[in-house]
Symmetry: C3
Subunit: 398 residues, 3 copies
């Protein structure tokens, strides 16, 4: 991307309305306006362009990005670190094991105690239905209050790094990948995307990836089909979001219990395992009751249930049914690859291998999406700030 | 805080004598002169003022702050990270679990091996009487020698992040909170502070908080009362320090076995659990002998002993006895709150809730206190350095 | 080191040919030309000189250094962190425990996923013969491909922080220590170095230290003797490297089963325990077969075997046999010191104590060696870059 192209993107950005993102959180894509979503993509592309030109993107001279992961993670953790580093923030992990959070601290207290110099807080909390997003909002209110009371010098903004409802940094990276792959957002209109359940021998993968995808991709005029075996529904509230978005955006949202049907003529396929919503709710309740034996029993049941659907695999013959036999295959990684990472999994090894390059590219947008979310929440005049970076032209590697 | 006010504070600072702090450690408040203590408060306020004005406080272009925690911690860990980051240092944790420290390294060796690019080392080691502070002095001597021998390019300075004797970053933050709360250090003269033991269902909380408070607050002409049940004495050496300081500073230091007596007419109350000194000494000896069964037995005994003093709780009726019924309640957090974090604890929920805002404010001074300690030990001409920061006016968020 | 001296070193550097190091890895010293090795030493010295003069050595405005340790470490971990920090990179640990690496990710995938903003990847993987170096090469190919495919904006270069074959950051630091100790590389010609096995009560220390030393020190015209009990051979491939290097460099390489013989007239002694190569190979195979009982049995056998050679200890009487009774004693630390860290170990306490200062100095070169490796792989025109740093004279501590 050359300087002129970057300048044009900045000009485009300057014409959008995204002021409400300033000092605000990014928790669910459907809470953001179309222009805010578009601004996020633009800033991500601009930052990537600047970095590729070896231009420093340091918005911050110093400052902390707090990462709070309640579930294991490689790529989201590294994406958050990369985004923070790109902008000049140092990451500090809030490891609840290492900390004193256990003995009797409220969310409000912890949120303030870690935020004295925090510019951003990234949270991943996707294990329990009804918990993750709620927790993020509690943290958000706590730091807002701390800021208003003068306890905090700045109001850290939150980035949802995956919750029980949405996984906005993933779905936004996925979408930016689609935009570039198809040569612009306009070209996505009418394109068919199959968000499909797929078999995995592991248990309890979060719902937030399929939910994030149907909640976001329907906004761009895409025809999104959610395919799953019976009993593998996602949260009904998010299906409702997808329907509203499809109606507004000129796209479609439909459901099916046939993977083959969803794949037929699809331009994009996203086959991925997830746990059934109702089971996840049951699990949350068991957890609430401290019934760990019940949880174990439930897990066994679910693995047994999964095993009924081993034919939900993204095979070559299914891929052949897609548009011109060459739909774009997507995955948030890591995937369960048949014969590679497990005996029977989400995807055939030959399919996975063929799409390795675009999949890595898909993943590569995440750090820039996160950086864009941070920048839009912390820079008062983002277009001016980016323009100043370009003009100053300070080199990243000297 | 406006620019003029910051300038005045810098001018005030420049008139103090604190040259002995350069390349020196901060281990016990009572090893520092009154002017050094005052300089620390001034620098903390100046740094906070600069940051609130979005002025970069980077003393360092690069460099490491080593954190060595031998006990769990959230707020002290984050305060140290924040302070380092504010000044431009990156934190590197010396996790003794992850490292090879176990198999046969001396303190001297480890201290040098982690200090090749270390500007500051923050240590928390508060578990065993006679050990923590001693360990810090061993580290200090080791790096001093390494520096003199040319092994180290710089002499890292140590900050005591809590030891068996003192908790200077806590007591200094507490004191700065008092200074601001009462509108200046002069207004603290004659004010009554009750440092009181309180019941907790947990065992073995360090003595360094009450010791730090009686060692420091007595210097400001305050009338400090240390209240505890019989058998919950603190280290006699520190009581002696408090007495000397009270005599020199025009304050008072007294002891009582009645919480109510201590609270009567108090302007400030600090009710907090700690372990009895003699029991901690016994525990250290058992530890030295490797008698872990003996330690378990001792812990049970102590919890039983604690249970005799459940009425040592900071209740509304006790608060009503304080000066105008509205003493400032303080706590280093996290607190054991009755009916919230435990069945019976240090403080009634309604009292704790009412003082949440000032308590968070109290905590918010700690990063600036630590940053001030670092700056005073690493900048040769601190007032000039701060003045240069203000004049340069480099923005923290660009 | 004064400015003139630094300038001279930079001029010396500018006359060497090391362009092949740009965007390249540092995996084995014997893959590097003599001029590349020399350039690394020069850059290490220049960086140390600049830092001692309080000149900022930030090559990077932002960027990540990924550390991937598959074995515990203190000094190498801190050396890598220090090197990264000196140059302006933030370290991000890839903790395979915390990450999702376990469930089915390929090396290629992980390597790309952690490298979106990675400028350098430091890897320590020394536990299994045939594995560590191989793994590094897989990572290297993966990121090279990711870079060529546009997935990665930059090609991170790898630094071998210890593998099954070599420990280049250690041997290079050792060598730089020798160069300074003997007043220049030229003075090393004909000097005798005894790389000797020594008894340790612990099991399975890596072979990479002795292998690194015989592979590197033979290049400088030194007469290197590898001493070990029968059965404690190192990898034959590395012995072959040592022989070739000795022949080319005008030095000697010989082997003996007598510690005393190796020490006789030696100018430098490096007594250190390691595991027998053949046993390590057996262990790797058992590991491959998942035969953990077999591994335990093997470990017992090896400890028993070790115990036959308790007289392989660096004692005062052995030291007396060395050149003028005052050979330079070296160790990569931590050492097993008789009567200090173990009952019977590698070295007598009095010998170890006497050489503490030079040993710490030896260790102090490692961060600079690593920084030099990074700089030579990431700066296109290293001499110009260093000259610009010197001329700009930005202070590290302001």
């Amino acid at each position: 991307m050359d300087t002129l192209k970057i300048k044009n993107l900045i000009r485009e950005l300057s014409q959008l309305d995204y002021q409400a993102m300033y000092l605000n959180d990014f928790l669910l894509t459907w809470e953001k306006s179309d222009q805010e979503i578009q601004a996020t993509f633009l800033v991500a592309d601009i930052l990537r362009g600047l970095r590729a030109q070896n231009v420093s993107c340091r918005l911050f001279d110093s400052g902390l990005g707090i990462s709070l992961f309640r579930d294991q993670s490689t790529r989201t953790r590294f994406s958050f670190s990369s985004a923070c580093n790109l902008l000049g923030l140092e990451v500090q992990d809030l490891d609840e094991g290492k900390s004193q959070v256990a003995h009797g601290e409220t969310v409000r207290e912890t949120a303030n105690m870690v935020s004295f110099m925090a510019d951003v807080i990234g949270i991943r909390d996707d294990m329990y239905i009804g918990k993750g997003n709620t927790y993020m909002r509690e943290v958000s209110e706590a730091v807002q209050q701390g800021y208003l009371e003068g306890v905090l010098e700045q109001r850290p903004s939150l980035v949802n790094l995956q919750c029980d409802i949405d996984h906005p940094t993933q779905s936004m990276a996925d979408m930016l990948h689609l935009i570039h792959h198809f040569g612009g957002a306009d070209n996505l209109k009418g394109k068919k995307l199959a968000m499909s359940w797929a078999y995995s021998p592991s248990y309890g993968k979060p719902l937030s990836v399929p939910q994030g995808v149907i909640g976001l991709m329907t906004r761009f005029g895409m025809e999104v089909t959610l395919a799953s075996p019976e009993g593998y529904e996602v949260m009904p509230e998010v299906e409702a979001v997808a329907e509203v978005n499809a109606a507004k955006g000129g796209g479609k949202f439909s459901k099916t219990n046939s993977m083959a049907e969803a794949f037929t003529d699809a331009h994009v396929v996203y086959p991925k395992s997830w746990a059934p919503f109702s089971a996840m709710e049951k699990r949350t309740n068991l957890y609430g009751e401290g019934d760990f034996d019940g949880i174990k029993t439930l897990e066994k049941e679910l693995l047994g249930q999964n095993a009924n659907f081993k034919d939900w695999e993204c095979t070559e013959s299914l891929m052949a049914k897609t548009h011109q036999g060459s739909a774009l295959y997507m995955h948030c990684l890591p995937a369960d690859i048949t014969g590679v990472s497990c005996k029977e999994g989400e995807v055939a090894a030959s399919v996975f291998d063929r799409y390795r390059k675009p999949m890595y590219m898909e993943a590569s947008y995440k750090p820039y999406i996160i950086a864009a979310m941070i920048l839009l929440s912390k820079a008062k005049f983002p277009a001016d700030t980016l323009n100043a970076m370009l003009t100053a032209g300070n080199t990243r590697i000297r």
